[in-house]
């Protein structure tokens, strides 16, 4: 029989095992400095022109990236101090992602400072880390934005060399990778490629045989590109199981980072909407005094408090190498993705006509939220992953 004491003991044990889900003082300070930078340099009117950019104008805000990466040191948060980084943990990295989500910031933070950095760290490839940490160069994992944790190692690029005259350990790659995020302005590409064994290679993005084509993307604040490799020169980073491990860890970090970003998107959408409905008057009342809107906003606030716990838990698990990381990440990405989309949709609806215009920034958030919900695995994908992880098999 289960006694009250057993239940209380179990409750206590659960509480003891749970990592800190709050924000530490360091995290709060970091958040504040990123937030003030973005308030000055990444206002809606700064981002809006990118939403219909074409040709050479497509891409990230390089000046903003310099300020974020070099001045605030955000590019090197996950890089160890020995490699000129900040030696921080995934908790701090996720805190920054939240802020960038709040401003739909067009910078390659997720792709370079989180995904590519985690892959290089896992592969033990430290050579590039100092320049990445300084923000002098950015790197991207050459895998489609929709690639999810648990997906098979990609086979769309394959080994086609070396050629005679290539340096020792050099290789050549051929193939095409479609819909890659944060790769358009990247200097380095980390390419998963087929071969015996399959492996991760490093390719200079501006070398011969690499051709990038911008994609007219649903979310132009994080534009995608297609990359074609035509016997491009490559250097081996990790092969076989080590490559699999680096690839999977990068994807877990990607999904957790994106969950944090989605939390930021949702928070900002709620804030904008609450401010607007307090001010907008119809029927001689602020529309925010109507219960039909109030209850929906209250529900949104409730789901955001839940999303914060999920996102923080995933970040904390990654930070401490917790065994529960795969569950935590699947949970966070499934939950925060739905919340962000819901928040952005409510934001458009409750702004009424103005929310449907190009001029108002609501659509930037809607597009970011919807694209993020597919990025690094849909909610459905992550729930299916949970089914396997927690032993709830399908029919």
């Amino acid at each position: 029989m289960t006694t009250t004491a057993d239940i209380e003991g179990a409750e206590q044990a659960a509480a003891d095992r749970t990592p800190d889900l709050l924000y530490t003082e360091t995290e709060t300070e970091l958040r504040d400095s990123v937030r003030s930078l973005l308030a000055a340099r990444c206002r809606p009117e700064d981002v809006l022109p990118r939403a219909d950019a074409t040709g050479d104008t497509v891409g990230g805000d390089t000046q903003l990236w310099q300020a974020l990466a070099a001045d605030l040191g955000c590019a090197g948060l996950l890089v160890p101090e020995d490699d000129d980084g900040a030696g921080a943990t995934f908790r701090e990295a996720a805190t920054v992602a939240e802020e960038l989500g709040r401003s739909v910031a067009p910078v390659p933070y997720l792709g370079s400072a989180i995904v590519a950095t985690m892959a290089l760290l896992s592969a033990g490839a430290h050579q590039q880390l100092p320049e990445l940490a300084r923000g002098d160069v950015t790197a991207a994992l050459a895998a489609g934005f929709a690639t999810a944790p648990g997906d098979e190692f990609p086979r769309t690029a394959r080994l086609s060399g070396p050629r005679s005259g290539d340096s020792h350990g050099g290789a050549r790659l051929r193939g095409e990778v479609r819909g890659v995020a944060d790769a358009l302005d990247a200097d380095l590409l980390l390419v998963p490629a087929d071969g015996v064994p399959h492996a991760l290679y490093l390719v200079g993005a501006r070398t011969e045989g690499v051709h990038r084509t911008p994609v007219s993307s649903l979310d132009m604040t994080r534009p995608l590109c297609d990359i074609e490799f035509t016997d491009a020169e490559a250097r081996l980073v990790a092969s076989g199981p080590a490559a699999d491990q680096a690839f999977q860890l990068a994807l877990l970090a990607a999904a957790a980072g994106l969950a944090a970003e989605q939390l930021g998107v949702a928070e900002k959408c709620l804030e904008m909407t609450v401010a607007y409905v307090k001010e907008r008057r119809q029927f001689a009342r602020p529309v925010g005094s109507f219960q039909g809107l109030k209850h929906r906003l209250a529900d949104l606030w409730v789901s955001i408090t839940q999303a914060r716990a999920a996102a923080r838990y995933a970040a904390a698990c990654l930070a401490e190498g917790n065994d529960d990381t795969p569950v935590a990440v699947a949970l966070a990405k499934a939950h925060c993705g739905d919340v962000a989309v819901h928040a952005a949709e409510e934001c458009v609806q409750m702004h009424g006509g103005i929310g449907f215009t190009w001029e108002h920034p609501a659509h930037l958030y809607l597009k970011r939220a919807k694209a993020d919900s597919i990025g690094f695995g849909t909610a459905d994908h992550h729930r299916a992953a949970l089914a396997a992880l927690v032993n709830l098999p399908g029919a």
Binding site: A5, G9, E11, K278, R285, W301, A395
Partner: protein
């Protein structure tokens, strides 16, 4: 400030002087109260040590580890969760002296006489009258949804002492002797078949003025304090993964592959994820409280808990298939305390319907979140400045 080690030392010292194996249970509990080891965050002389709230768990663990008897908190939830903090905040020294110790030890059970047939969500419109008569008040009215009334020695009660002022201003807060003349407790049967609650009829009940808590006319303010505690009590608990209702459904799912379908699987996964996220949010809320950062997240936890319990128990019944058509027992029982996880899926499904009504309906909680957390304007209020006696009823 006291540390966990200090507390453990004090418990050890206490246990050396009071062997739990040879000391009579009540005597042990009274001594524990007097030693300040009951609720350690209460002040000295009131069963506590003025310690941080977080040290309570350490204290309880230390006593549990020694096999000491506890005060059976599940049997006195209203007393411990609502009456005690109210008496501590608003009660006089004499009142604290009289009521807190037997409340903590469980010698005296408490109940709450707030809701009325005509005053549910709009509690401030309540109509039970208290009329001054010398040193006493004479009460007449009807209260409802009172759990534990049939076992309680005392009740916290709100009554109208002045009908000529607007509704929030004319209320006062009392402690009512449930064994006194004129208090008639009748079971209130709910849709599960059980009578977990009661109706309480008050006919010329005399309450001494010394049993009033707070000033005459301050009843609303005092009651607000009580209700805040109620929501923290309902929403703030932590538990292990699959520790709640979702664990029961997950077990059924694992044990009965023949009942699985793609549609049910999708619902199960969504609810499992929601329940796990809600659990993490509760743990986060605990961490906030322990760090001295209480936030409005308690109301979020309560709204979520109600929705999840209802949806999960609904799935539970469907997952039972043909067995879901059978219901254990419709006889009118009077359980000692609310049971959300016990009995069969049908019972849990029906009982969960109360979760979004009791302790503040989910709709009222959404109003509170919208107005107090998000700062949205209130709906136009027609009853705010009208004397209670002139309100349409």
């Amino acid at each position: 400030m006291l540390t966990p080690a200090d507390i453990q030392g004090k418990v050890k010292e206490f246990l050396a002087a009071h062997d739990p194996n040879t000391t009579e249970r009540l005597e042990f509990l009274r001594a524990r109260y007097d030693a300040g080891l009951a609720w350690v965050h209460y002040p000295e002389g009131r069963g506590g040590l003025g310690a941080p709230r977080a040290l309570q768990t350490v204290t309880d663990q230390a006593f549990r580890a020694a096999g000491a008897p506890d005060n059976d908190p599940a049997n006195n939830v209203i007393g411990l969760g609502m009456a005690a903090p109210t008496i501590l905040t608003f009660g006089s020294a004499e009142q604290q002296e009289r009521w807190l110790r037997p409340l903590w030890t469980g010698e005296e059970i408490w109940c709450q006489l707030f809701s009325e047939p005509g005053a549910g969500s709009d509690l401030a419109s309540l109509a039970t009258r208290a009329v001054r008569d010398g040193d006493d008040w004479i009460l007449n009215g009807q209260k409802v949804w009172t759990s534990l009334a049939h076992q309680a020695r005392w009740a916290i009660l709100v009554a109208r002492t002045d009908p000529s002022v607007p509704k929030h201003q004319g209320l006062s807060y009392f402690v009512c002797d449930m064994t006194g003349p004129g208090v008639d407790v009748r079971p209130l049967r709910q849709l599960t078949g059980e009578a977990e609650f009661n109706e309480v009829f008050l006919t010329d009940v005399r309450i001494p003025d010394s049993a009033r808590i707070g000033q005459v006319g301050d009843g609303w303010k005092v009651a607000q304090g009580t209700l805040m505690n109620e929501r923290v009590a309902i929403g703030g608990a932590g538990m292990p993964r699959e520790g709640g209702m979702i664990g029961l459904v997950a077990r059924t799912w694992r044990e009965h592959p023949e009942r699985r379908s793609p549609g049910l699987h999708d619902r199960l996964l969504r609810l499992w994820a929601d329940a796990e996220v809600a659990r993490l949010a509760s743990l986060r809320l605990r961490q906030q409280l322990a760090a001295g950062q209480p936030g409005p997240e308690g109301s979020a936890a309560k709204v979520t808990f109600a929705r999840l319990n209802q949806e999960i128990s609904g799935l539970d019944v469907e997952l039972a298939g043909a067995d879901g058509l059978r219901y254990g027992d419709w006889s009118m029982r009077r359980p000692a305390h609310a049971e959300f996880l016990g009995r069969d899926p049908g019972f849990r499904y029906l009982r969960a319907k109360g979760n979004s009504i009791e302790g503040g309906t989910s709709e009222v909680l959404r109003n509170i979140i919208a107005e107090r957390v998000l700062g949205l304007p209130s709906e136009p209020r027609v009853d705010k400045d009208v004397p209670w006696k002139d309100l349409p009823r």
